[in-house]
């Protein structure tokens, strides 16, 4: 087995001393939060470091906790067989985050999905369009304050 959560966080801390906002260890699956400005660098480090080697970005999820919007990265190392959960936060209005598309190609569609359903804009994404919903859909349905529309293109939805 690879590194434990503590060791991973320690390594990230030594590389980027002020990148970690908080860590949560007393939960089922521990995670740490990083600053959005430095997210891209942290991810690059997580992937490129020989010992960490997080080559596989398993899942990118958007989360809305009614105060902030979060993006959660579940990363796995296929060689080292360890995993890490990385979170980052952005405000509800004008939510923006750097893309990790240049690190893991899989982020392309997953970020588009998050943009589609949460409205988080990813800076540097090459083709940020809606993916699941029609191009002219109003709003981002997975936000907690989303109001279900009465109709779409004249088709009643209720």
């Amino acid at each position: 087995m690879g590194l434990t959560f503590k060791e991973i966080v320690e390594k990230v801390k030594t590389q980027f001393p002020d990148s970690i906002v908080s860590t949560q260890e007393e939960v089922i699956q521990p995670w740490f939060e990083t600053k959005p400005e430095i997210l891209n660098k942290v991810c690059r480090f997580l992937k490129d470091d020989i010992e960490l080697d997080f080559d596989f970005c398993e899942s990118i999820s958007g989360v809305d906790d009614t105060k902030n919007l979060w993006v959660v990265y579940h990363l796995t190392s296929l060689r080292k067989k360890h995993l890490i959960i990385l979170k980052t936060k952005t405000e509800r209005e004008n939510s923006q985050l750097p893309t990790v598309m240049d690190i893991w190609k899989t982020a392309d569609w997953q970020e588009r999905e998050i943009y589609d359903l949460y409205g988080i804009k990813f800076d540097g994404h090459h083709d940020l369009r809606r993916i699941l919903l029609p191009e002219d859909w109003q709003g981002h349905p997975l936000r907690k304050d989303y109001k279900f529309p009465e109709d779409y293109d004249g088709i009643p939805l209720r």
Binding site: V63, D65, K105, W109, L132, L133, L142
Partner: protein, 374 residues
Amino acid sequence: MPGIKTQEILVNMGPQHPSTHGVLRLVIKTDGELVTEVTPIVGYLHRCAEKIGENVTYDQWIPYTDRMDYIAAMGNNLGISLAVEKLLGMEAPPRAQVIRVLVCELNRVASHLIAFGTFGLDVGAFTPFLYAWREREMILNLFEMLCGARMTFNYIRIGGISFDIDQKFIDKTKEFIEWFEPRIKEYNDLLTYNRIFVERTAKIGIISPERAISYGLTGPNLRASGVNFDVRKDFPYCGYEKYQFNIPLGRDVPEIGAVTGDCWNRYYVRIEEMIESIKIIKQTLENIPAGEYYDAPKKIKPKAGEVYTRIENARGIVGFYIISDGSEKPVRAKVRAPSFINLSILPEIGKNVLVADLIAILGSIDIVLGEIDR
């Protein structure tokens, strides 16, 4: 004829097209027969299953997961059940665990049969498709015997399974295995080593391991590129560590000209996985522990917290990311859908190929639109 440009045309392939495996739309730009660009457009089946998940209780969401990967629905049931069980801090009884493995592997065989059959269909061989259908029908009959449903099972529940199995089911399953095992050779004779089939699929749509990992491919698609990663082995759940089975990997086969990560390997890994699944099924049938098969609290109300679980389904890793706030309904219920992520590689490998090859590549990725669109 280098240097001579001809008009390129944009063609909609899909949503109503025989080989886009559902309502997938590919906008392709072609120059003669050559596809220079392909843009997948998905979402025709979108019903925002994740939003639904936030508005129903944990139990009620299980039937919705059936509708995602409707070809291998057992895996989805298992994924959500494991996630909620982890949130609750409990485990299903041993009998249920074994039966879960049994039905999931049966479902994997059924799903790979479809992949095998439809891939044959994509390259123009009609007959293997119906052979696959014949065998799948038997598995579906088994499932019908088990829980009354043939595709959308809602069988694996939080805390166990919904119905116990009986001796008749075990006998029938053994009967099926006996019938099925020689069929693999039949498939290989008919399709796998057919000259035309090999010429159509070998060295087509090669995905290198780096690219496969970078695009987050999972399941047979990843393993066909030679990457040995299977959640069942590397992060075992449901007692998979107890079973003896191999992880088939893609490899170079110089006799027929196939190379690691091409369409032929993606196809053949599935055939080999069926053999491995049968091995696991045999082992589960050998010792099914007695005892409870369902043991869950009356009211499923996990403590606040979050959990991400993953299982190896037929098409790859199905991940469930559940956040609970202590109420009966999840705050966030996210699914990592393998087909969705597997398909994202298509624009990359579907460039500069012939129309016929594009179809072969799409078929070899083996997508289910229900899961992509959710």
